[in-house]
Amino acid sequence: METLSFKSSFAQAAEDSYTNFDTVKEWKRETGGLALGYFPVYFPEELPHSLGILPVGLYGASGGVALDMATAHTQSFVCSITRSVFQMALQGNLDVFDGLIFSNICDVARNLSGITKRNLQKRYVDYIHLPINNNSSYATKYLNDEYLRVSAALEKLVGKKLETRQLAKSIRAYNERRRLQLELVNLRRSKPWLLDYTEWYSIMRSGSIMPVEHYVDQLQRYVSELAAKDAKAMDRIRVAVVGNFCEQPPLMLMKVIEDAGCYIINDEGLLGSRWLGNVETKGDPLFSLAQAYVQNAEPLTVRFHPDINKQSYIANFVRNIKADGVIFLTPKFCEPALYDYMIYKSTLDEIKMPYLHLEYEESSSSFEHIRTMVETFAESILFD
């Protein structure tokens, strides 16, 4: 395994994206460019990228900061990612970012944008309302205008104009990233023993902090080396992990799940980065970007899809990826995840697919309870 040379750079970048952002600082120093932090799940990274701004995903501090300042401003019954991101905003970890952007992932994140603004008066803090009524004929035009609004704000920030050619170029770069990430997804689905979850995770995560060209370059080499690799498969159950789309579970927890006898062949962690597939670059690229969102976005808990039946969606999904079981891994106090659990679970009951529901916090450091539950779960499937 150690032969894969880029492994450590992925891991380093991922580690850096929790609280330090040294990579970003260095990039800024070298290029003189600006950086923009964005909150999960969906964000049109192409917009800042085409203006020379580095977009960086903010996925929580993974327990790396004390939450004392956040506690003063937020209630205790909200998820940890919002509190740790806010704490970082207050205590300066996010000073490296020239702007912060949120979107409509949930009520908590939405209000987080406002209180961040109030406390960081001078910073550019924005909010994108991504349309949920995507079968309205007005949705794409609306989003197109919304992207124009945000672009105008970003243009003001960098003092540069958005150029169509540049945007098309950015879209192509991100298309490539999405393609490679999907390739890796498929590889792991078919041969999960080729790489540990931790490794897989740091590769995906570093995609949201590294400059995209550099990342694509590394990932390309990685994927081809990995595809050629051979490793021994173990007798484990194949599980899909559902619900961790925003706050990220501690890596240790995922390790506990795998060690208890599972291969995680699907997870929703950092899903936003691989959502839309290939975006058209001919014609008006901004419009295409808006259209891609309205038409292609993957069904996901925090996204409403008027035309997709979630019940048949989950049934087909677990069938297609040949899962033996589903683990609902939901962040503590994350309501959206808890509601979809209800919809999905009734279908899984019907198709007799075993499932297990677990809760976590990004800062959790004890997993005994989870270990017991997952071991029992694996035992009940393995020794069927």
Binding site: G63, A66, L67, D68, M69, A70, T71, A72, Q75, S76, F77, E361, S363, S364, S365, S366, F367, E368, H369
Partner: protein
Amino acid sequence: MTKYFAGVDAGSTYTKACLLDENSKLVTTTSDMTGVNIVAATKKVYQAALSKAGVREDEVSYIVGTGYGRYKITFGNTQVTEISCHARGAHYLFPNTRTVLDMGGQDTKAIRVNARGEVVDFCMNDKCAAGTGRFIEGSARALNLGLSEVGEISLKSTKPVKISATCAVFAEMETQEQLAYGNKLEDILYGVHSSIASRSIGLLRRVGIEPELTFTGGVSLNPGMVRCLQEQLGIKLNTSPLTMFCGAIGAAEFALEKTLAVAI
């Protein structure tokens, strides 16, 4: 004849009483477990204070009750919440107090006070972030340790364990799981104290931390807690063996003031 003023703090764990004389001098303090019979406990602790000071009942002009059981102090003249009383009591012991952290058995309060010891702003723990003396007691009992031991033991920690859960219920589970991982007792206990400290600091930030900060309530007797708070805050706290009595002292001060007000 000297006149005396009494404060009785009927807390969830301990009942405390104190007497002040008319010059506002602290004459005596007493305390005992509250137990299940509050009325009896308050009477007992109050009587103990009288006999310890050699004061007759009729020499006491005014009695103020405070604490959760304040309405059960049948012999008291009036009641004041322990928030106002702790503020006054802290100001009595440390006149430069501007912020008070009171950690008792049932709840934790952060209080900002003015130069006269009057409450300007206060916050109490939300249930989901509750870090109180009760939780330390819980861990102590789970580990078969005495209350006064846990703080001492935690001081020996060299490799503190992180207890990250926010709510006391989860934190307690986590404590036990850390044992299952084979971590050392002192390191876990340090983690327990540290996690409660950080939760109380969140509370303190809500009112704003202005020096001097006085730490009151029963938990202020716990050296482990004092250490964690000082380390995390980076400032020194006022504490003394009397800070546990701040509620009662403040109540007695109110008793004195009330009498003065009536006299004028």
